[in-house]
Symmetry: C2
């Protein structure tokens, strides 16, 4: 019997699921739509694992563990998810309910923290690294020697809600000028304020056409992400910052923009130049399985005594 | 033979030296002026240890280790100090030179990091804590489970040079609106710009008299320190932030001011309110031996194989 580790990155619209072999290779992968509401979220996770097993050619009894990365407030010990508003989840005992349905031990982790773990593992980063997620919101996960750095109350890496401009735009959190107001997809869409399915793309197209509002927002996007990188290095001194999240669909333009903002910010400062921040960032490649892979690592961190017999 | 651990906090004007008993109690303490220049710094450290031994009643052969906390760039492994400009030190092989003079194994650490270690130990803080030093400059030390968190390149905790206002005053580091421009004693003195030996005290007296420049600087002092606290909690999620450094001579006014700034900043933000930052800060008491005690802990961290026979 092989010992497959399953990892699921549960997003607002889709689940990315991977099967990881005992050698740490990705043996199978699929994407499925995410259900809305507590029961549907559980069912779509269960269906994704079943479909992954069938497509990859393993049995559920081969599954040693399953891990889920999911937005919202997660109690990693109990596997409970709170306030995952984009999924219609108020309070969900996810590990217990999914585990019961499949006879597989589940662990649950905040999606950014799980993705950080996966990004660290797939990039081979050693020591301290951070994963900066530019999605609808902005948050980071810090990984030290291959383990998620939680801090004292589980909010380590919440750099999106640090203000870097007292006169900046109002943030959803109630403060002004938060990093998230500059480089969060939700905040950018609100600030742009024009109709369209892909507001950040629209904004960049308008910037290319010389629209002054768009130019300002685009510059702010790079400066906000650069501020996030600076915070992570000047507080925790992470060696690398890997940037992920929905906004990485912008590709090289985003990476070049952030790098240019870091260089411009360091231009007048020998101290900042000495940190070589522009050399310490990288973008997660499009379609990277890092988030799901990290979720599989979360699942695999189940202490052996908790692994129940199943099948 | 008792095993005394000596710790020295070397500041720009004075050395604070403590003798720590094997039980971890402070058995003796004295203050001596700091010499200027490399040879004089070594001599004043050597003199301080000798005087401490004489006053406390132990022999140099009773000293198991000595630790020094000193400003500037410190290579903790080699015990070398670079660019301690306030001490007239460009490059000093401090551990070797002081150790040779006294026949005692020395370790050297950056003063803020050593103070962080001491503050964590004396406060009994567990898990992750930060020490935010408001002195001429502003920097923090992060301590996790009783050990200094260095990060990847030794710059963890350099939060003084994070910009929180793109239109803020120019910082000595070349950036604008750094946290240090708001709450560093040097930057405040420059911004105040009037003659006087105690510019920050003068500024507070002027604020009490209604001087608008002084009122603005005072409010900025508290807001800058509050920003430092927010950075430390939202990045590393430290449970407590202990505030030390020269500006703590301002006492309760400083502590109340920072607390009020934290509360005001959280007023419109349920998320920030949920962090209870105002309850997570404390001021190091005036005259606290934390920095010298932390230096003694640094000295005591010498691996036993490096402890040479002496006497």
């Amino acid at each position: 019997m092989t010992r497959i580790r399953v990892g699921l990155d549960v997003g607002g619209t889709k689940i990315d699921a991977v099967a990881v072999s005992p050698e740490g290779e990705i043996a199978g992968r699929l994407r499925r739509p995410t259900g809305w509401g507590e029961a549907a979220v559980v069912s779509s996770i269960v269906d994704a694992v079943s479909a992954l097993a069938e497509e990859t050619g393993f049995d559920l009894s081969d599954v040693a563990s399953a891990g889920v990365g999911i937005p919202g407030l997660v109690d990693a010990d109990s596997g409970r998810v709170l306030h995952a508003v984009n999924l219609g989840v108020e309070s969900l005992d996810l590990a217990a309910r999914a585990g019961e349905r499949l006879g597989v031990p589940f662990r649950v982790e905040n999606d950014v923290k799980a993705a950080a773990l996966g990004a660290a593992a797939l990039s081979g980063a050693e020591g301290a690294m951070a994963y900066l997620n530019l999605g609808t919101g902005v948050a980071a996960g810090i990984v030290v020697d291959g383990r998620i750095w939680r801090g004292s109350r589980g909010i380590a890496g919440e750099v999106g809600h640090l203000s870097v401009d007292p006169n900046g735009r109002l943030c959803g959190c109630g403060q002004r000028g938060c990093i998230e107001t500059f480089c969060g997809g939700g905040a950018l869409a609100r600030a742009w304020g024009r109709p369209g399915d892909l507001p950040v793309r629209d904004l960049l197209v308008a910037a290319d056409a010389g629209d002054p509002d768009a130019l300002l927002l685009e510059a702010g996007l790079y400066q906000g992400a650069a501020a996030g990188v600076r915070v992570l290095v000047l507080s925790a001194d992470v060696e690398r910052v890997i940037i992920g999240g929905g906004l990485t669909a912008l590709g090289a333009r985003l990476e070049d923009g952030i790098r240019a903002a870091l260089l411009a910010g360091a231009e007048a400062s020998p101290f900042m130049r000495s940190l070589h921040l522009d050399e310490r960032i990288e973008l997660l490649p499009a379609g990277s399985p890092a988030a799901a892979f990290g979720a599989a690592m979360v699942g695999a961190s189940i202490p052996s005594k908790e692994i129940v017999s199943h099948g």
